[in-house]
Amino acid sequence: KVGSKIFQKRYQIFLKSLQRHKHLNTLTTSTNGTVPAYYGVNQFSDLSAEEFSNLYLKSYSTNYTLDKPMKTSTVNNS
């Protein structure tokens, strides 16, 4: 509900994300024939960076020996 605590919290996060977009867009370089990355409001704009990270950035590189070789092939191994 507009005016509720949760609304206020989300709105403050949203305002912070607008600041972040401004910063991200300042460093984009335009080159002939290509569109540089641009940043703005999307479905994640009312999530803090921490919330976003905890929800969506969950892939990792394990210590698994097969994870970091220059080349690992099960075909070559066999």
């Binding site: 641009y38 479905q43 994640f44 990792y60 590189s61 698994y64």
Partner: protein
């Protein structure tokens, strides 16, 4: 190598999915790679079950995260047959691994390969063309606000936190870029895709590159 190549344009890539509030990007990435590799081998393009990988890949942590390479290792080691997505549907949470009676349909892999291409993205292009879309892990912190265009800044290598699928590349313009399928729905980025500058291991896109063998 061609200036432009994209498995999506050749109709070998399934629709962009939305993982919603489940941190299983790693499963979406490798299932996307298996779907495409299966179709490239001459079969029909099928939507395969991400939920099956989330529930059953014991080397990973379901919606709490995982690794593309360990998921491929599990698929290969167990020779698990991936069911159609419609048979083992997406639940947005980790569940118990369901075993189905052997049916006529199921896709298994014949091996997999995993590379560090941080030195040599030209080789990565070669692999893409010869084997199909590539599962990669990237630093996606700045992707929270991405709307479109080619990412050339605000990304680190060696700090991977998200898994995606590279479907192609485009070197026809001044800035060559990878074409990357994400799993945050079609309203994110450019119809669910993101473009990343080639040649500088941007976002660590070439650090851990893997794909299934069919």
């Amino acid at each position: 190598l061609p200036l432009r190549f994209d498995w999506k344009e050749k109709k070998f890539v399934t629709q962009v999915k939305n993982q919603l509030s489940c941190g299983a990007c790693w499963a979406f990435s490798i299932v996307g790679a298996v779907e495409s590799a299966y179709a490239i081998k001459g079969h029909s393009l099928e939507e395969l079950s991400v939920q099956q990988v989330i529930d059953c890949s014991y080397l990973d942590s379901g919606c709490n995260g995982g690794s593309t390479v360990s998921a491929l290792h599990w698929l290969n080691q167990t020779q698990t047959k991936l069911l159609r997505a419609s048979e083992y549907t997406y639940k947005v949470q980790t569940g118990l691994c369901h075993y189905f009676r052997p049916t006529e349909f199921g896709v298994s892999i014949n091996g997999y390969e995993a590379y560090d291409f941080s030195c040599c993205e030209e080789e990565m292009m070669n692999m893409l063309i010869n084997h199909g879309p590539l599962a990669v892990i990237v630093d996606a912190v700045s992707w929270q606000d991405y709307l479109g265009g080619i990412i050339q800044h605000h990304c680190s290598s060696g700090e991977a936190n998200h898994a995606v699928l590279v479907t192609g590349f485009d070197r026809t313009g001044d800035i060559p870029f990878w074409i990357v399928k994400n799993s945050w729905g079609t309203t994110w980025g450019k119809d669910g895709y993101v473009y990343i500058k080639m040649g500088e291991n941007m976002c660590g896109i070439a650090d851990v590159v893997s794909f299934p063998l069919m």
